[in-house]
Each structure stands twice: as structure tokens, then as C-alpha cells.
Assembly symmetry: C3
Homo-oligomer: 139 residues x 3
């Protein structure tokens, strides 16, 4: 069984956002999969998907602070500057964190840890909605 859907994540401010529910609510047919995998792919090079802690919001704000510190705006070695000071750091963060996640499905649900959730890393200051290709397969 294969199912592929294009999902839209609503526009969000720069930072890390817990989007597990926003994604799962758009994937009702996951219920039909006993064993399988969900692949989520973001069709943008200035935002990212990753798994991390789903409970304390300061984990997300600390991650944003850390990535801003170690992938700085205005580094003297940047040449790609004409799309704004946030653009080149956004590209670097996108590759550090990754453009897709693959998650096991068991008995119709994501088989993740109780403290895990799906994060959208929004790395631009003024981005619009983000497009995700969700591919589910299993039996």
C-alpha cells in the first residue's frame, strides 16, 4: 500500500515549531497501516524537518538560539547576501537539520518515543506556508 499526499503547513514565524498534530491530522489513512513507514519531505531549501523533544517549549527556543549563534547572519565569508541576511544561514541550517524525516508506523500510529515530536525548522524571517510531500507505505 502506497499513499502520497501534499500537505501544507501554515506560515509560521522564524524558529522551531512542534508540528506533529498538524501533520498527523492530515494523514487519516495512516490508521490502515499495521507496519510501515511515513516519509515527510519539505520542498524548500530554507526550512527543515527534524525530531526532538515535544514537551518543554524552551527546548525549541534554545535550539533557535543555538543555531543562530553557530550559523550566524552576516558572516564575513558569505557571498550569497542579496536575498537578505537570514537567507544564507537558512540554507546552511536546512542542510544541517535535513529536508526529510522517516518515521516508523505501527498499528496505525507513529511509533515514536513519548517525548518525541516532529519539528518544523522555519529559518526565514518572513516565510509563507510550507509544502510537505507525505509518502506512506506499509501493509
Amino acid at each position: 500500500m502506497w499513499q502520497q499526499t501534499q500537505l501544507t503547513l501554515s506560515a509560521k514565524p522564524r524558529g522551531f515549531h512542534l508540528v506533529t498534530d498538524e501533520i498527523v491530522n492530515q494523514l487519516e489513512s495512516m490508521n490502515n497501516i499495521r507496519v510501515g513507514l511515513l516519509h515527510l519531505f519539505i520542498k524548500h531549501s530554507s526550512a527543515s524537518l527534524t525530531l526532538n523533544e515535544n514537551a518543554d517549549p524552551t527546548v525549541r527556543s534554545d535550539m533557535e538560539a543555538h543555531f543562530n549563534h553557530f550559523v550566524p547572519e552576516g558572516a564575513p565569508y558569505y557571498q550569497h547576501t542579496y536575498e537578505g541576511a537570514d537567507d544564507m544561514p537558512a540554507h546552511i541550517k536546512a542542510s544541517l537539520l535535513g529536508s526529510s524525516v522517516t518515521i516508523p508506523i505501527t498499528n496505525g500510529q507513529l511509533n515514536i518515543g513519548i517525548w518525541q515530536g516532529i519539528y518544523l525548522g522555519e529559518h526565514r524571517n518572513h516565510a509563507g506556508a510550507r509544502q510537505i510531500i507525505a509518502t506512506m507505505q506499509g501493509e
Copy 2:
């Protein structure tokens, strides 16, 4: 053909550990797959899975040294501090390195380079055993 198993990796000290054998020894049915994929997913947000060099142990200790240097404990911008100084860096490392790896299977074996192995990144000082969901599919 789909097979999904929950594996346990024994508790390990903080650092990077070569776990190829510990994982493969728990996946005997891989022998039956001519062409396929193995997906390994760690159900924790303070440990990670990655592929790297399988020979010289100093690659693992140098990686630990590097990540400790560039994802420091006690950064002035951390707010998530109540779970210990090692916790917030562990979350950041988990997202930098990733919570899953996908590896091709060919003729019943992992089709990785002769110098490649699977690393567990254990980012907490005193973690317990770690749970992995191994999902194999193929024909």
C-alpha cells in the same frame, strides 16, 4: 516483505559507539532480503544514529570532542537547564546528527562501504538502554 522489530541497545557511556554488530545480530531475517532497505529509528531525543568510519576509535573520540566544543554545555542562551547541563546540548546534537538512518540491503546484507559502520551517539552522561525500531522491507 515487511518486518518491524523493537531492538534494545545496552546502556553506554556518553560518546559515539560503533553498534553495527549489536544491531545486525538482532536482525537475522535480513538474510531473506535480496533487495531492500533497513530503517533504524531511535525513540529518544537525546541520542542519535549516524554512519561513519568503523576502524579507528579516535574518530569516535574526536567526534565527541568536536560536538562538545561546538554544542557547549552551559551556553548563556540556554533556558532549558533543569534536566542537567548535558540535556540541552544532547537535544541539539540529536537533531544535528539525526534520529534515524536508512541503509540499503543487498543479497541479505547491509550494502555499506568497507570503512562504514553504524554509530550510536549517546549524548547524556548517565543514560539507560536505548530503544530502536528497526523496519526492514524488500523482496
Copy 3:
């Protein structure tokens, strides 16, 4: 439907390289897949695969500059130095960026954003050709 092929990427200088066409041109049977996934795996621990912006070459050179700055050669904590000053940083970059990418296939083509492409991160100074295992599945 499963198909697995070993691809060769020609030897390239150190840096980030857009390799979408070099890969897709070796995967003609992708045309037969209506819905599926392409998994690309690099059989080396000193090079990486990632998705990023496919248009402006300075994005690639800025990424190289950034990774050289934050994963430096000659760090005082490196012990794995006998394979050259570029080797240990290459291993760290390989794990930061990742050894594989998984990309949705829709109607016989990669379903990526119009500004996205596949990058090879070549992290050694004088590497040879790089081997990729391409695994396609779908229906």
C-alpha cells in the same frame, strides 16, 4: 517494484556540488514509478549527500566556507590526524550532513521544490570517484 543500482559520481574537488542531473540520468527506470521513493546512499564516510538550493553557485561556496570555519582543520582536540588535516573534519561533516537522502517520486520524476537540488558534499582534498547505492521503490 524495487530497483537497486550502484552509481558512480565522477571525482570532484573539495566542496559542494550540484549532482541532480548526474544522478537522475543514471536512473531511467524512474519513469515507470507513479508513486514511490528514491533512496540514495553514499558508501563513504568522508563525503555526504544533502538537498539544497539549485540556482546560485555562491550558496555552495558559502556552505563550504561555513563548514570549513565551524569544523576546522587542525583543532587541538583531534587525535585522528594520520590521514591528513582534511580527514577528521571530513568525517565530522559527513555525519553533520548525512550519508543518505530519501526523495519522493511522483509520476516518474523527483518531487522536489523548483529551487531544490541534490548536493554531493566532497570533504576530502583529493578524493576519487564516489559510489552511490540508489534504491527505488514504488508502484
